[in-house]
Amino acid sequence: MGQLKFTFSDTITGYVTRFNRTERSFGLKTSDGREYTMFITPMTYARISQNLDEGYIDATGRLGELLEEENLVYAYCIFYPNGDDYRIEVKSMIFPGDQIGNYRHEEPDWWIKQIRAIADSYLKWQFGYPENQIDYRDYRTFLHLAGGKKGDYLQETDTISRLVYGFASAYLLTGEDRFLEGAELGTEYLREHVRFYDNDEGLIYWYHGLQVSGEREQKLLTSEFGDDYDSLPMYEQIYALAGPTQTYRITGDPQIMFDIEKTIDLFEKYYKDDQQGGYFSHIDPITLDPRSPTLDKGNNRAKKNWNSVGDHAPAYLINLWLATGEEKYADFLEYTFDTIEAHFPDYANSPFVQERFFEDWSHDKSWGWQQDNAVVGHNLKIAWNLMRMNSLRPKEKYVAFARKIAELMPAVGSDRQRGGWYDVVSRTIAPGEEYHRFTWHDRKAWWQQEQAILAYMIMRGVLKDDEYLRHAREAASFYNAHFLDRDDGAVYFNVLANGLPYLMGNERFKGSHSMSGYHSTELCYLAAVYTNMLIKKTPMNFYFKPKPGGFKDNILRVAPDILPPGSIRLTAVEIDGKPYQNFDAEKLAVNLPAAQHALRVKVTITPV
């Protein structure tokens, strides 16, 4: 076909190689080492990446200073056919930092400010806070782009729980009471309205959700979605625990622990495959049988998948271990990671893991939309969480698997022309083709960026490899340059390949079955931890509010995440505003005083 003879626009992302002030041109080398020459026009403008709740930071007058070698830049350009080549003229630029080699997302409070802004947006959108009180009867799963409600009455359990997780995480980083109030009221609402306590079995499962109308509510036992229709999918039960567990880390509320333990009983009794290992993805809603013929409706009979095995760890299980230090949860974690390591790699056939299985672990390549497609973010999520697990129970196979993923993914899952990470692609390349095909589109979803950012941040933090730092910086810069909605709040669901927000259909929502303030806040919480604790070595404060008689033996565990042993210490504690000395610096544990009220605990954690 030869050269495309028309103008078009696109983004080029890379590192400046040279700047010619006379010619008003500069060189840009992409992440994979290809170089372009591009020209600045009189109308070219530039900005520095800004956080949520920050004003525009113009850099147009500083181009000469910022177009220095090695500086990363996102350049939106028009390509003009010019002979056998193109002349590339830049229309706008975004710099991730305001000085050479500086990345604003590595500022100590960048992610803390961001989580505060996101949590405040959801408090306002869902409850009209602060003008109105937080009342979960007002909660709706669907929210428009600017936070308005859609006029429907759906309250999905998962999405409430995920937002509760966001509020709890915001409290852990800020200590601001409105966030804990949001987390606790949400947890209580879940318990009162969508919890099914099964008397016969002595276990708990969670309704799919509610349809509410004024004082009336209709409970929805089973999923309402095509993928999971008329079943109890495991991921919904897993995510029902996400918010309450993160809240438990703060308060030690025994009621939450009761619900968590009884739900884990459900997992062990009905979802676990004791013969061939792992957890089934769906069970029949009446018989609780994973092999029920009724599950054929969704092609979910006797199946296992990424979510049913892999989502325990990040959604609630790591946080449960952090809060309790109980060996049984460490064992459970180890079991899930060993299962993933044993069955998911498929490197003889694909650079991506296999995500769906029959009960004997043979590969299921016929399921619904997945067929033989890969979710890029699931691969990165495995790498991220393997590195967490490796700091709890080190195994060479965990590190080797994480490294394998981290080294393979940039070429097959990221966009090395424009930056950012793709969504779903074919697991293999067809004969005669050079690129993995995009299953639906070449857009980039917010949550997949999160997986890349956290994977490469923790890998750099633990393994000290600068190549991982480069990928972490590129991923975090792309996200902060393009995903933050500074007009209406929180983050966009999807951007186009070039980084512009995609605002159509479900993807223009701020609240939906897929988005509810979870991934964006999880990213803030853990990016703050990994950046400050592991990469920049900056002390951080965390906030807790334990209930009287809550935590076992009155011990409050304050480790912010599973980090390498000895890499951080607890260096200061305040209780109700006064310095407090009864703590174990190495074990990151506070021996709480006896009290009749919930204590306000502020801890300072310092990297070694």
């Binding site: 099964d198 209709q218 036992l221 009446i286």
Partner: protein
């Protein structure tokens, strides 16, 4: 467990006897859903139900959902105090109209 269904006007009357547990609930659900094909209102006579397990409760909830989706109604007749307590504890009780007799149940569906 046994189910006998009959059509009465625009309504279906289903009389269940015996135990509704994990083994029998799927059968009960299938029979009740079949019966629902021909009517909008469903009266479930449970006077002879001796035991309702959590699987039975889930069956009733799914049944309710199916009927509600068709803008129909469900009335339960003769629910024992024990079963009533279980339904109350699990938050189910609000979804159903309960009646003490079949006549009262049919009146509620009218």
């Amino acid at each position: 467990m046994d189910i006998v269904t009959k059509v009465e006007g625009a309504n279906i009357i289903a009389v269940i006897s015996g135990e509704i547990d994990g083994k029998t609930a799927p059968t009960a659900q299938a029979k009740l859903l079949d019966a629902l094909q021909v009517g909008a209102g469903l009266l479930v006579d449970m006077q002879e139900v001796s035991y309702l397990s959590s699987a039975g409760l889930r069956m009733l909830l799914l049944l309710y959902r199916q009927v509600a989706a068709k803008k129909g109604r469900v009335v339960l007749v003769g629910v024992s105090d024990e079963i009533r307590d279980t339904m109350s504890m699990t938050g189910f009780i609000k979804f159903f109209t309960l009646a003490d007799s079949r006549e009262a149940g049919l009146a509620a569906l009218a």
